[in-house]
Subunit: 317 residues, 2 copies
């Protein structure tokens, strides 16, 4: 399938104008695209405009693409009109399988089949969503993190009939627009980010339920402890740096036994030699060319940026 | 027990000069104190000076207290001399109960008993540490998060013989120096922050072990998804905002059923009416006077600060 060159994409259509569809609209407008936003009911446009005004103030501070303008938005409640010139379609309609299937059935005929249709769904599978679509190869899941105009993550996976080429094209396009796509090889409930969030959430609920800590204490612990580090490096790279000169290998040898301690209610998997080697190799490959001192300076630079932001804008209550 | 007024504290003694003791030394020097650092072996001073040079560059960017200077550091390997003028003692010697007990036995006689001795221990209980100390009332656990000169969290708890007054004095002192103390009412393994971290870590290990995601993918998901939000607000306030105008109550009614879904391997507690009411009341009390719009603007301001920092210094690999 010959697809448009990524740098030639001009028109993006967002189907759905709620917080997620509106957030995507802000993102693509901010990157300088002509955006058409389809909404079920024209009355939704007021709320969309308010969301865009809020988002725009943020995007102006981070940096807009040349030529980016809120004036490059078109709103319509005519689906055929909405996708008539689309080079890319981002769908964010309600999480209801009947609504999604009916929509993809229509889009399948309306949108030229070399144009990718990406769904923001957080819980439905593309195999189900694309069931009634006549041109399912170019449909993929691309789940953003809220708000989509500020958080770069896009978790991606195909359905049974999606083509690998559609996934890679879409991932390249997202990267080109400043997003951080993550292509998964299988559909895992909660993808990755929601699983991380949910592990924290459930351990936190247990602590509150058992009188070990109040919600406020847990929030204080997160913001002033692990939170700032995770804004710049994930748990694996954080531990690789935490291991000092010895990196991940030292960290695992030192703290491996702690996996048996009751430090959370979630039991750990066995730290087999294979798992250990996998983690050590991954960290060393990614850190290539950077010494411990380089990495810890990078980490500290992130923490300084957060501390400066706290001084300026404070923390949430 | 009459203790020194917090604003009259001038001399802080850090016992132990490794990464944690050295990090505390940097923190107190940065806040303008005279700091005496005790080290077991005078040869440790070189590594301490290197750590302080690195830390100082960070602290200069965040803001030093008036008069703060690296010249206000005294290093010694004479314990009696180290604590002779101490208004506050922060202990960070190796995590070995025999070493700690022997040290607290000595400190008990050397340090006037109106002076607080706080231990950086992450895993030992103060009840055990203070066992051979003749003046245990003023000894408390005060566990920092690494690096202590950048991350504000101090998790605090007493041992059986610790006085409540010692805990509250120390917490006020930490707050006065810019830290975020969290007093726990019981000794919970891993306190709060390590439990949060460990829940993430173990879910992440399971995902790698089961081929659901690579370490790199998990790091990408964290940094570009939940991480930046947690640098400014903990999981509870994040969900309170995520609930929109309806706040935590809406969020729990909407996503409560998801607690039964396999979104992590950790099973959730039952979301009873008591637990739900506790969470809703906590969020509403803390958000007092702030509308949803205020809170979401505060959250977005934090995310903008992180995005600006990414543009300037990048993310970890």
């Amino acid at each position: 399938m010959a697809r448009k060159k990524i740098e030639n994409v001009r028109n993006v259509t967002c189907v759905g104008a709620g917080p997620i569809g509106g957030g995507w609209t802000a993102h693509f407008l901010g990157r300088g695209y002509d955006v058409t936003c389809y909404m079920h009911d024209p009355a939704e446009e007021d709320a969309l405009r308010r969301l865009l005004d809020t988002a725009w103030k943020c995007l102006e501070q981070i940096g807009l693409a040349d030529g980016a303008s809120l004036d490059r938005l078109t709103c319509t409640s005519d689906l055929a009109e909405a996708v008539a010139h689309a080079d890319f379609v981002q769908e964010s309609v309600p999480e209801n399988i009947d609504i999604k299937q009916a929509l993809y059935e229509k889009l399948g005929g309306l949108v030229p089949d070399d144009v990718i249709i990406a769904s923001s769904t957080s819980g439905l599978s593309m195999t189900d969503i694309q069931a009634r679509c006549a041109t399912p190869e170019r449909t993929v899941v691309a789940h953003p993190f809220n708000p989509p105009y500020l958080l770069p993550l896009v978790e991606m996976v195909g359905g049974e009939k999606s083509s690998a080429g559609a996934l890679t094209w879409a991932a390249e396009f997202y990267t080109y627009t400043g997003k951080a796509p993550l292509i998964m090889t299988k559909e895992v409930p909660g993808f990755v980010a929601t699983r991380i969030q949910e592990a924290v959430w459930r351990e936190a609920l247990h602590m509150v339920e058992n009188g070990e800590a109040t919600p406020e204490q847990i929030d204080i612990a997160m913001v002033n402890g692990p939170g700032p580090r995770w804004a710049f490096g994930g748990p694996f790279m954080t531990y690789h740096i935490g291991g000092g000169e010895g990196g991940m290998a030292y960290c695992l040898d030192q703290f491996g036994p702690a996996l048996k301690l009751p430090w959370t209610r979630l039991e750990a998997p066995e730290l087999t030699k294979d798992l250990r080697d996998n983690l050590v190799n991954d960290s060393e490959n990614r850190a290539t060319g950077r010494t411990f001192s380089d990495l810890s300076e990078e980490r500290d630079a992130g923490l300084v940026a957060v501390a400066q932001a706290w001084n300026k804008i404070g923390k949430l209550p």
